[in-house]
């Protein structure tokens, strides 16, 4: 067997890649252990994975980087296995490094089984369509971009905005409704984030008493980029195991997808691949999909994997390949607006650019409140109209607007101040949120509520309700 043969030396080193000749019997995607002996005779072990093979020449990527490697100081052993991580309920409460090895000094995981980190595609026939909503206690999310169990709903943000705070608040307040809402866990994957960001999340998990239900996979910004490509895969493998074999509801927070994609670009260019848009490899879409598609609910299990990936849009540009391709795969997006954020509104989410594709089947009768879909629809329409009125006002001045447009201007301000804006520790029930929405809609003339039927308007609309905003 190949597992016994050690290959001495290398035939080439290029960035994170090394080449070996004369290899017999290795398999594509197989893992190798590389032992280095430096000038002082110290030994060190690294891990690599086969990414290309032709004949007896094999190209390996080294997870920990190639610094210190020479053509003569290595011995390589092929393990005969693809990359697997140990899995078990013991994972909960542990901190691992980016390639799935314990990093908290508490010793090895005693595994119930091993899982291949690449996972496999879910058969669409075996999926269950996600329907149960997750109550986050945040009005703008619950009412207008409802998070559904089994959904992948990323946060698109920019550097310096409060995406981390929002993610931490969601974790803190998230409650599951519907049957089997009990067993809840969090998998946190840090991909190239600063140490203090990882620390912020760790502290916030501790404060909320969730630490015992969290698995953390940390690849910090100073860690090797090849490991960064493995980090989300390790995290999702753990998530799938806990969800589908242990029937838990797992919320996966992945931050920051932009660093991940940049690592992928660096790796691709060192392999000499033909670049696509902005230098990212042509397979960026497929690669991101292989992460995001690992969310969902399947038959034969009561658990679920819900993903909240966080990505910072380079230069706040939503058409940049990373947010663009992500949004084509994910089921909606929550988009931060720098303008709103700078006026002190938290969370500064741009309501119109945000979207939850799955909310239509998880809200309304039997899920939230019967009038929720209509109210959400009307809020969107009214706020869109507000934007039109604002852009008009910036040209001709507010005084020249029609009476209706002036009402929309008033509505817009109060909507942002009272509905979107919310305390960091404030959790609103769905009932509170929808009643608040009706209060706000009552600022508008009754005949402008054109997205719902008259009966509904008559039942809830009352111009007096709006008075509290102007008292």
């Amino acid at each position: 067997m190949t597992a016994d043969i050690q290959y001495t030396g290398l035939s080439g080193i290029n960035g994170p890649l090394i080449a070996l000749d004369g290899v017999k019997g290795a398999a594509f995607d197989e893992i190798a252990e590389i032992e280095i002996e430096d000038a002082n005779g110290n030994r060190q072990k690294r891990t690599g994975r086969i990414v290309e093979m032709s004949g007896e020449r094999v190209i390996l990527q080294v997870f920990e980087g190639t610094s210190g490697l020479s053509l003569t100081n290595t011995r390589t052993l092929f393990t005969g296995k693809s990359l697997q991580i140990p899995l078990g309920t013991e994972l909960l409460g542990r901190v691992m490094n980016g390639s799935g090895k314990p990093a908290d000094g508490l010793g090895d995981i005693f595994p119930e089984k091993y899982g291949d980190i690449n996972g496999r595609a879910m058969n669409p026939v075996a999926r269950k369509y996600p329907r149960n909503y997750i109550h986050t206690g945040i009005s703008s999310i619950d009412c207008l971009m409802t998070l559904i169990r089994g959904q992948k709903l990323p946060i698109f943000s920019g550097s310096g905005l409060s995406h981390n705070k929002l993610a931490a608040q969601i974790v803190k307040q998230a409650q599951l409704t519907g049957e089997g809402g009990g067993d809840f866990g969090i998998v946190f994957a840090a991909m190239g984030v600063q140490n203090d960001v990882a620390e912020y999340f760790r502290r916030s998990f501790e404060e909320t008493g969730a630490a015992g239900r969290v698995v953390m996979f940390l690849n910090l910004s100073s860690d090797p980029i090849i490991e960064r490509i493995l980090t989300p895969r390790c995290a999702l493998t753990a998530a799938e195991y806990l969800a589908f074999e242990k029937n838990m509801h797992i919320l996966v927070i992945m931050t920051d997808v932009t660093s991940y994609a940049e690592a992928l670009r660096e790796f691709s260019s060192s392999k000499g691949e033909i670049p696509g848009r902005k230098g990212y490899p042509g397979y960026l879409y497929s690669d991101l999909a292989s992460l995001y598609e690992r969310a969902g609910v399947i038959e034969g299990s009561t658990g679920s994997v819900t993903q909240i990936p966080i990505l910072t849009m380079p230069n706040d540009d939503i058409t940049h390949p990373i947010p663009d391709l992500s949004a084509y795969i994910t089921e909606g997006q929550m988009v931060f607006d720098r303008g709103l954020d700078s006026t002190g509104i938290y969370p500064g989410l741009s309501v119109l650019m945000s979207l939850s594709r799955l909310m239509k089947d998880g809200i309304g009768k039997g899920y939230t409140r019967d009038d929720h879909p209509d109210v959400a629809n009307q809020l969107f329409a009214a706020y869109a109209r507000t934007q039109d009125a604002r852009s008009l006002a910036s040209v001709i001045g507010e005084d020249e607007l029609t009476a209706a447009d002036k009402a929309f201007m008033k509505f817009g301000v109060q909507f942002e101040k009272n509905f979107v804006n919310q305390g960091e520790n404030e959790s609103r029930s769905i009932e509170t949120t929808i009643e608040l929405a009706w209060d706000l809609l009552s600022i508008l003339p009754k005949n402008e509520l054109d997205r719902m039927n008259d009966a509904l308007v008559n039942e809830h609309y009352d111009a007096k309700r709006a008075e509290r905003f102007f008292a």
């Binding site: 669409p124 995001y292 909606g332």
Partner: protein, 583 residues
Amino acid sequence: MNDVIFSINGPVVKVKESKTFSMLEMVLVGDKKLIGEVIDVDDAYTVIQVYEETSGMRPGEPVVGTGAPMFATLGPGIISNIYDGIERPLTAMRDISGAFVTEGSALPALDLKRRFDVTVKVTLGDILAAGQVYATCPETPLITHKCLAPPDLERATVSYAAPNGKYCVDDVIVKVKTPAGERSFTLAQKWAIRKPRPVKSREPLTRPLVTGQRIIDTMVPVAKGGTAAIPGGFGTGKTMNQHQIAKWCDADIIVYIGCGERGNEMTQVLEEFTELIDPKSGRPLTDRTVLIANTSNMPVAAREASIYTGITLAEYYRDMGYHIAIMADSTSRWAEALREISGRLEEMPAEEGFPAYLPSRLAEFYERAGYVTTLSGEEGSVTIIGAVSPQGSDFSEPVTQNTKRFVRCFWALDKALAYARHYPAINWITSYTEYSDQLADYYNSRVSDEFLPLRQRMVNLLAEENNLMEIVKLIGADVLPDDQKLTLEAAKLARVGFLQQNAFHKDDTYVPIDKQLYMMKAIITLYDCCLSALSKGVPLSVLTASGWFEKLTKMKYDIPNGDLSGLKDYIANITKEIGSVRS
């Protein structure tokens, strides 16, 4: 000599110095016998793209040719099924390997054990020619499956015909004598997916594909046998539009290709189409639908094949005399699969890394649409509706631009409309159709001769609004004269009351073309009456206070689809009330 794997790079595998394989031949790769296709042959290497995950494969494993190109199996049992990109049945796969897709599950596309109630249509001594029906069987309560003599058959004499009865797809039903020897036909046949199935002749496109979606049927209709593209950035509703058309259009059969899209969307189609009852037939929509699912995390090479598999199935049913609509969601993912494979082959890239043959591949695909007379003399059609996902919502990117050259109907989705939750977010200014002239006869004779003039009035009204908005953006609407203000009011009514359609409302999700006609008529009547009142000196504020604008905005909900008398009353009352207003 034995052919073995020499190199592996993702889904691309090379065999060294082999002369056994022919171009586009289907091969079985490695110990797991993964399905692959030969995409390049020269004296040094044969290049194969593998349709499944190559993880764990080793150089030195065998590669075996099948002697035939990539084919689809055609026969009863296709409808209601869900396949992956290379026609492997996903339901059967789940039963064998569980919730996650595994490689190397060599499953037959059709259920070999299911028995069909076959009526044999030929008897001993009959002459059978290409495309003729030799047997029929009910496939679903809606679709009668017709077994067609293969297109390469010259006239031949039937030498054996089985009696009517219950048969499985592999049972021999008919044998014929040809100069080359005897051939036997079962219920199923094979066809190479990259080769269009032959027809007797192509016919002009004169009938619309009626979708029940107002903006499509009135403003930008597509003909049966035509091609349409839906380009739009993320969140603009490509998939939603495709679902709506698939649910409600008047095709006999829907082939829905989920190409590189979300797994949950395919699940949604599966669930919804099982529950939804088609109002025309009273049967679940699955009875007329076949799904092809290659979700975004399934192997990329199979994504490239899924489009061809889908259109081959469609052509097969077209040859039986059915009208098929294909939803391809999304052709951009297919183009990206081409790019990915091309990159691995180290081909010279053209625009944005896409291979130079992208336009010709797109053209080949869209050219397989058409309204035809089949070999057996029946009429059938394949309509292709392809979604395009332009990167960064930029319509100047290669896939959108090249698609635009080969489709004749362009439904441009607009981000601004989607942000304002105006659905369907099809922009009425930038979308177009080249079929309107060819379809004019149909609208005049089958719907009403008022339809096209009303449509034109509405187009003009919206175009005028577009021009006026330029001014309004600068100086506000208040300074406009009353007649222009009326134009804005009427155009708003047309947008909100007519073009906007609620897919989740029980009546509004599908609107018959008659109702569309009367809704247009009500809007234009109100506009005309108000214009003439204005000319008599009635101020606009009096007219808007009449309540008719609000009433017409909600007519889509207030007037049921089945009973249009309400709309006719509206029109009569508008004429009476607005006509009698005096200044």
